[in-house]
């Protein structure tokens, strides 16, 4: 047993295996993608010129951005309501609601997309029900379009938004709202003037989280989109594995990577990233 050791040094030694492993097996592969984007098919920024020249890439990026933004907004609105109610529920209900959120967070996204697949098809369960009840004669087209992609993404992202929103709301001193009520504000006024502004940092953090995950989402859009709504992750996969256009594929992966890193770098001045990703 050694008595004298330099504690700082030993603690660094504890971190070292993880850092080394991640450097070699995580960060090196990621940097390989950047490297590919400027070396294949020939060295230079030729691949990145496609961002300006290629209509399909532009349209695909626009689709990705639009779907990500819309689903982020929807997720935040729905998630806010849920987080609000969980925060204000009595303990037993709170636990129940919380369990439901956690369960849906951890169930595989593939399984969840598959479930929507079974529900939304023309011949799916929702249409069977609607037609059985006589609400509609012809099946509603809910699948293979932007609607199904949005439903799938919002469903996948909801728990990711609820958790940081909830942890933000929970840290608000309930006496503040009570004081406002005591001073004569009605419920609505107390909410909008006191409670809501205090939750804005949480809303901001949750939006960033959801937006970033939605941008790079593969499984759900690929399964529910029906081709027309191809988002960037699926496009990258097609370019790499099917079309064998590695230049475009790695370029887009790099764009996605750089965009996310830059966004997070800016955001990190306003939000504690460790808390944000740790809350989920």
């Amino acid at each position: 047993m050694q008595r004298k050791y330099n504690p700082q040094l030993t603690y660094w030694l504890l971190v070292l295996p993880a850092l080394l492993a991640m450097a070699v097996f995580y960060f090196y592969p990621v940097s390989r993608v950047l490297w590919m984007s400027v070396t294949i098919p020939e060295p230079g920024l030729g691949n990145f010129a496609q961002l300006a020249n290629s209509h399909s890439i532009n349209r695909m990026l626009w689709t990705t951005l639009r779907i990500s933004l819309i689903s982020t907004a929807l997720t935040l609105i729905l998630g806010y309501v849920v987080a609000y109610v969980i925060t204000h529920a009595e303990d037993r209900r709170k636990r129940l609601l919380f369990m439901a959120v956690l369960a849906s967070l951890w169930i595989s996204v593939l399984v969840r997309a598959f479930a929507w697949f079974a529900l939304l098809r023309s011949d799916g369960l929702i249409n069977q029900m609607l037609m059985g009840l006589g609400i509609t004669d012809t099946p509603l087209p809910m699948m293979w379009n932007e609607f199904s992609v949005l439903v799938g993404i919002v469903h996948a992202m909801l728990p990711l938004a609820i958790l940081p929103l909830y942890s933000g709301m929970q840290s608000i001193d309930p006496r503040l709202v009570a004081a406002a009520r005591g001073l004569g504000a009605n419920r609505r006024g107390a909410f909008w003037r006191i409670f809501f502004p205090l939750t804005l940092p949480g809303v901001f953090g949750a939006s960033i989280l959801v937006f970033i995950y939605a941008l790079g989402f593969y499984v759900t859009p690929a399964l529910l989109g029906g081709g027309r709504k191809m988002m960037i992750a699926e496009y990258i996969k097609v370019q790499i594995l099917e079309v064998v256009n590695w230049g475009a594929g790695s370029m887009l992966a790099s764009v996605l990577l750089i965009f996310i890193v830059v966004t997070l770098a800016i955001v990190s001045r306003l939000v504690d990233l460790r808390k944000l990703f740790g809350a989920a």
Binding site: H55, S56, T63, G226, G227, M230, L241, V243, V244, W246
Partner: protein
């Protein structure tokens, strides 16, 4: 290295025990419990169990095809002392190229199409077919290319939902959304879709190539809002089966399955369809070397190809198979002489030259 010797050892134990009467199954079970069965199976099979001939890995697209290829091709080949394994993990072009570039090729024969010749040929990722071993005379119509050889045929055809489309629509009606309202589906790929559009537009099969790409795009543009895209065979099947669309361009194999499972509600026609070859390609520096070509030659046997037709609807590439096809299967055989008369045949040379740019333009103009 250690793994391999362990696997060798393991395989030897298996043989010894087998001889001494201990149940092979029990050993396998305990091996599975140790988590080494997959390892032993792969390594063992590669060099130990069949010491004479190297293992030949045939990669196809999974599902039913794994079982069918096993029975049709691997079982007879292995019965003659070979060692063929069917891998259903999908020989995507990008995966073949990655293997070749990393110099770590584990596939010998890949189930591919002309687009693979176009995408990988110029990159030098494919091994020229050794026609000293593979018999050209056992492939119809010169569907033998430097880097690939036809093993079966499939067609892209038009199918429709007879509940929603009265009578027999002509291919031109595919583009007439006034006559038959409703969504249409096409493949998320320019391959065969352009040909079908041009044929529907009245281009004669013999004048098809070189393809008038612009004219085909204009055709699809005219019904752009009613288009759905499928990317896998099962997706094309479920889009039509579930009534998501009223008509579609899809593979004849899937159309045939649909007709059966919907008891004739979904109908299809070979008229103005496109006959396409399914090709074997061999990645550069494949592990089994020339044995891959001997395996391909073995798979040219007509009875094996007819079996695949029976099970999956892929048309035989060997002209000698034509007479062996049972009467009731002929109507569904894409390569049947009667069906060939009404279809055009894909021109691989055009694809090798133009596929890459055309596909990208298709994504640009039609899909995205």
């Amino acid at each position: 290295m250690e793994d391999q010797s362990f696997a060798e050892d393991f395989a030897e134990i298996m043989r010894d025990q087998d001889a001494s009467g201990m149940s092979r199954r029990r050993i396998l079970q305990s091996a599975l419990a140790m988590g080494v069965a997959p390892l032993a199976a792969s390594l063992g099979a590669r060099g130990v169990l069949a010491a004479d001939k190297p293992e030949v890995v045939v990669v196809n697209w999974g599902g039913l095809a794994v079982e069918v290829f096993q029975q049709a091709f691997a079982d007879p080949y292995n019965a003659e002392g070979g060692n063929m394994v069917i891998d259903g993990s999908g020989p995507l072009n990008g995966k073949i190229l990655t293997m070749v570039q990393a110099n770590d090729v584990t596939w010998d024969i890949c189930d591919a199409g002309v687009t693979t010749l176009a995408d990988l040929g110029p990159k030098g990722a494919l091994q020229p077919i050794n026609y000293d071993i593979v018999d050209k005379s056992k492939v119809v119509d010169g569907m033998t290319y430097e880097l690939g050889v036809a093993n079966y045929f499939f067609s892209s055809v038009m199918a429709w939902d007879s509940d929603k489309v009265d009578g027999t629509p002509s291919p031109a009606d595919f583009f007439d959304t006034k006559k038959y309202p409703g969504r249409r589906m096409i493949r998320k790929d320019s391959q065969a879709m352009l040909e079908l559009a041009l044929l529907a537009d009245g281009v004669a099969p013999e004048d098809l190539y070189p393809l008038d790409v612009e004219r085909a795009f204009a055709k699809f543009d005219s019904i752009r809002d009613d288009l759905l895209f499928w990317s896998s065979g099962s997706q094309s099947q479920s889009l039509l089966r579930d009534g998501e669309c009223v008509m579609g361009f899809l593979w004849s194999t899937r159309a045939n399955m649909l007709e059966k499972e919907t008891a004739g509600r979904i109908k299809y026609t070979f008229d103005k369809g496109l006959l396409q070859p399914g090709l074997w390609v061999v990645p550069k520096n494949n592990p089994a070397g020339d044995e891959a070509f001997r395996a391909i030659a073995s798979m040219q046997r007509p009875e094996e190809q007819v079996y695949v037709l029976e099970q999956m609807g892929n048309g035989p590439a060997n002209p000698a198979a034509a007479e062996m096809v049972p009467e009731q299967l002929r109507s569904a055989n894409p390569a049947d002489p009667e069906n060939r008369k009404v279809q055009a045949t894909l021109n691989a040379d055009w694809y090798i030259e133009h596929h890459r740019e055309t596909y990208q333009a298709f994504l640009d103009r039609i899909v995205l």
